[in-house]
Symmetry: C2
Subunit: 372 residues, 2 copies
Amino acid sequence: MISFARGVPAPECLAVDELAESARAALERDGRTILSYGPGGGYGPLREWLAERHGVEPARVVITSGSLQGFVFLAQHLVRQGSRVLVEAPTYDRPLKILARLGAEIVPLEMDDEGLVPDALESALGAGDAPAFIYTIPTFQNPSGRTLSLERRRRLAELARERQLLVLEDDPYGLVRYDGEPLPSVFELASAAGGGGEQIAYCSSFSKTVAPGVRVGWFVLPPQLAHEIEALAVSTYISPPYLSQATVLEFARRGSFEPNLERVNGLLRERRDAMLESLAREMPEDARWTQPQGGYFVWLELPSGPPSGELLAEAEEADITFVKGTDFYPEGRGGERALRLAFSFVSPDEIAEGVSRLGSLVRAAAPTAPAL
Amino acid sequence: MISFARGVPAPECLAVDELAESARAALERDGRTILSYGPGGGYGPLREWLAERHGVEPARVVITSGSLQGFVFLAQHLVRQGSRVLVEAPTYDRPLKILARLGAEIVPLEMDDEGLVPDALESALGAGDAPAFIYTIPTFQNPSGRTLSLERRRRLAELARERQLLVLEDDPYGLVRYDGEPLPSVFELASAAGGGGEQIAYCSSFSKTVAPGVRVGWFVLPPQLAHEIEALAVSTYISPPYLSQATVLEFARRGSFEPNLERVNGLLRERRDAMLESLAREMPEDARWTQPQGGYFVWLELPSGPPSGELLAEAEEADITFVKGTDFYPEGRGGERALRLAFSFVSPDEIAEGVSRLGSLVRAAAPTAPAL
């Protein structure tokens, strides 16, 4: 099975030996703290390290076991039955499920090649109760691979301030860039404009830059919200497992973070290139796909192809798999002829082979009328 | 400050160097698995190890970041607004808060020196809707130090079967025994009686036997419930941090678990002895306290003493602290003249000194009428 479904790094991206050494050294350095209960918001020295990188007080940093856990805390805290939450359409599927479980009214916002469309946001803001928050992945978005342009980032930061809108900026892929210049985060733009960026809840993770299994995500929150989320963490698990948090910090302190990231980005760039080259070679003329400068995903649209659920069933018979577009829309309304293709896990050769098989299936399918 | 409030092991209980070596070895042995996403129910080899110890299929074992996290999952899954949950009175305060937040109707059940009183359970079962579950800590209970007698364990297992009552048996202290013979768990008794113990949700943790900071708790659940709780774990944090789970397993595989436990129990036995001797020396004649054969806690009742909130304020001025009894009752209704004294964290000398100071405060307080 060639999996374009797994949005995870290839095994060779994992710096096993260095992390093994880092775990040992972290425990030898600070074992009694790491092996005891402590603050619910995470391992103190890592909070300080992250706080310095983001230019905030350590108390505004809350480290969770992966950033999804923090999303759950935020959603539990901010969302009541019927609360409106604005999301990009398409967007990461797990938050959609969490919001649905909490009874949120999920409002999808249109995107184009430059990401979230600001006019769509403005009209959603004008059309109902004040939302609990807007959830956005501005850089190398999951699932689309799209990146919000600088101008739109500025506009989003402005809107957040003007409308007292809480923006949850999810940024796991920002450092996983293969070409082009880094863009400032919405949080950075909002901070630079004054007010400490307190309309923005920023989160990121070491899943893509160190390893997903360490389960170390972090949030930079407005002070009061940080306090409340930390209290929720304490009442859920007392304190998080510090060992993996201390291991990541030790890895960084040894100077391994940047060189490892460069190595990982090199491995992933080859995969991104293989994906884009294969799509250009294999896909029919009316197919469209994104051209991500980083991250894990390409979003492929096949306007005259079969519904992606049907295509997925055929693909799995040909030993390839992907995630169908509808999974990334609230209630599955959208993306009927779209596919999320992850290029992070499989090798360049497997990508070429998998896209070739996919192309055959697409070309063999009887052309159908585009979805309305 | 001499703290009788901290229910945590003394720092010298932590096997820092062995755990540092175990963390390194675990990553070297199985790094690619540990550093990746995987099953939400925990690190596979540890699930297998635990399953074998409990005589169940691995799929019935769900490992969480400390057992409180698992309690939250179970409560979220089983409790709706107004659901009845039966608890021992007094009981561990964190579950009370979680249940209150979820809107449960918390029904306190009377205890005596042999633990939960079965007649109290039977009349609660007869007095309202079927409860979502009963929460019990049968061995060296937090906060009372009491242990449910063998006869009552049998009765509880029977009642669970007869009434289709789900029993959540929380057993973090069972192996932390200083004298006397181990008792079978309610889960073991129910399993031996047939039906796979499927009315019992058993949980325990490595917090007291390895280190609290590893945050490795586990549940043995009926198959369907295990499946549902694992799904809830996946949708909350994808998978837990495997590093600390793999470290604990490596520690056990090296043969360190039993010798370390014996060493820890020796350290804690001295503290328990110091506590009981000091209480006998310092407390007034009408004071009563439990005589735990293990665990971390003594429950002290002062029928003619001041309300324990007042005593706590005075104690803190004398640089000693404890947790007042009312914290361990639903809505604080009960334990007005009771104290939870943890002997796990402080040294034997500090215990003698702290109880001496406490005794002076108690003797100096004007005798008051016993609470009704």
